[in-house]
Symmetry: C2
């Protein structure tokens, strides 16, 4: 557990350091405050933690690269949440136990906060890769593929505006793609080939989505920090709607076992297995946590 | 004039080629169509034309780099227009003579089209710089600085949500910053130092904003392709409100003379002067076009 806490601290320190620039004048005060508000205090930081965990497992030779990758992942993730909460999307009131960005700062500022975070993600990557421009090219390709069109979050969100939707493609784009980016960017940050790390990210992403669907049905708003029952309310595709609660839990177990089995051979393999196992426990709804692995 | 037409064609071909990816499945059809719609048929392409003109003047050694920079500038510009037209900002009905993106495709798709274009801008830069990763770092720093916070378009737009606003800082951020990026990215694309090119971009950006303020007052909607009289309607800061129509025209002349005088010594200096002079004529309202330079 000590290691996870350290990674979490490393992520938060890197996020804080990066946002210092956004607070400088001439940033308009409301916009600067909304960007801070979208990032802090933050959720579980699953994606940047995963990125740094993989980088540490591969053996880092330049700490700045993986940290800039971790920050970029969290910025893109938070930007997608801010825009996804907007009135024209989910019109969400709460996120992480507090009013959503547009409720706290207004809709225009929320649109701009999302835009600014996307741009900051790429800017920060470039700064982190000063000494490794070749890795920057790979990192930007992975990050943009996972967040834009046709293979990333934007495509996933875009499917919500279509009449016909494919559940698994939708989840893969909207949630899975950034988890794949997290493991692959962790590997690329250390100069490793990203390909062997795709499966770990894909499986954790899939598990995360199933866990989210389960929480939406079985948890209260107090526990999740955001309104629950939204999938049914918005007629959104969901693993629970497709497989039922027990079927979804079984599916979660299978996915997580596969995730651990997929970890490639690397210097910190054993520790990374522990980290993923601990992460898995946190993903499972509490009433089923003992059934994890 | 032949040269300008060639550059314009080069820009449009590069834009088309880049958007091919966004049309691939699994891009949701409405989102893919809205991205095309935001870029084509397009406006004057002033920023990408300027970027390519500077690159040609400096002597290009790799055409893909300057083209990816030009595309990135146009994508960021169009993304900012799509978001700026949203109901929570200007609630604009028309842009370039046709319904705005959110009027044609809905608000959610418009938010995602803007996000996708920002991400595509950076993705495309990385692809264009495969053989020059060191230039990629510089290009991303310039593009992100000019589009995000604290020094870019997002900050400029953010000032519209504040009570106190500084006219010149506002224009510099919202419009000027991307023109500075255009000249500097053109230079960096060829391996040149960007610093001597800052003034040309800044002056053209300033001229463009003054010309836009003049058109908003003196032109009809039919001529500009978008509703005019918006600055007064939305109580927005404007050069015409500050200096009057004649004062604004005088200011435009001074700025453009300064722009041409600022062009650094380079292999294609004479041709670049012609291009900027021609651009200046197009910027001036028709009743004052003979007064340009």
């Amino acid at each position: 557990m000590k290691n996870i806490r350290n990674i979490h601290e490393r992520v938060n320190l890197a996020l804080l350091k990066t946002l210092k620039d956004a607070r400088k004048t001439p940033t308009p005060p409301k916009l600067a405050a909304s960007i801070d508000y979208a990032i802090f205090p933050g959720g579980a930081r699953v994606r940047p933690n995963l990125c740094l965990s993989v980088a540490e497992a591969c053996g880092e030779d330049d700490f700045a690269i993986a940290e800039s990758a971790a920050v970029a992942l969290e910025f893109i993730h938070c930007a997608s949440l801010v825009h996804d909460d907007l009135p024209c999307f989910d019109d969400a009131e709460l996120r992480r136990g507090k009013p959503t960005v547009h409720r706290a700062f207004g809709e225009t500022v929320a649109v701009l906060a999302g835009d600014s975070l996307i741009i900051l993600a790429f800017e920060n990557l470039a700064k982190g890769c000063e000494n490794s421009p070749q890795r920057l090219i790979q990192l930007i390709k992975i990050l943009s593929k996972s967040s834009g069109v046709p293979f990333g979050i934007c495509s996933g969100q875009g499917w919500e505006s279509e009449d016909k939707i494919n559940l698994s493609a939708y989840h893969q784009l909207k949630t899975g793609s950034l988890f794949v980016a997290a493991t692959c960017m962790g590997a690329v940050s250390t100069g490793e080939d990203p390909e062997p790390w795709v499966e770990l990210g894909a499986r954790i992403g899939e598990a995360f989505q199933v866990a989210d669907d389960l929480k939406d049905v079985t948890y209260s708003q107090k526990l999740t920090g955001k309104p629950t029952g939204q999938d049914i309310k918005n007629s959104r595709p969901s693993a629970v709607a497709e497989f039922g609660v027990d079927g979804a839990i079984k599916r979660l177990q299978d996915i997580l076992s596969g995730a651990i089995a997929s970890i490639p051979s690397c210097p910190g393999e054993a520790r990374l297995c522990d980290i993923v196992r601990n992460q898995a426990k946190q993903l499972m709804p509490s009433f089923a946590a003992d059934k994890v692995l």
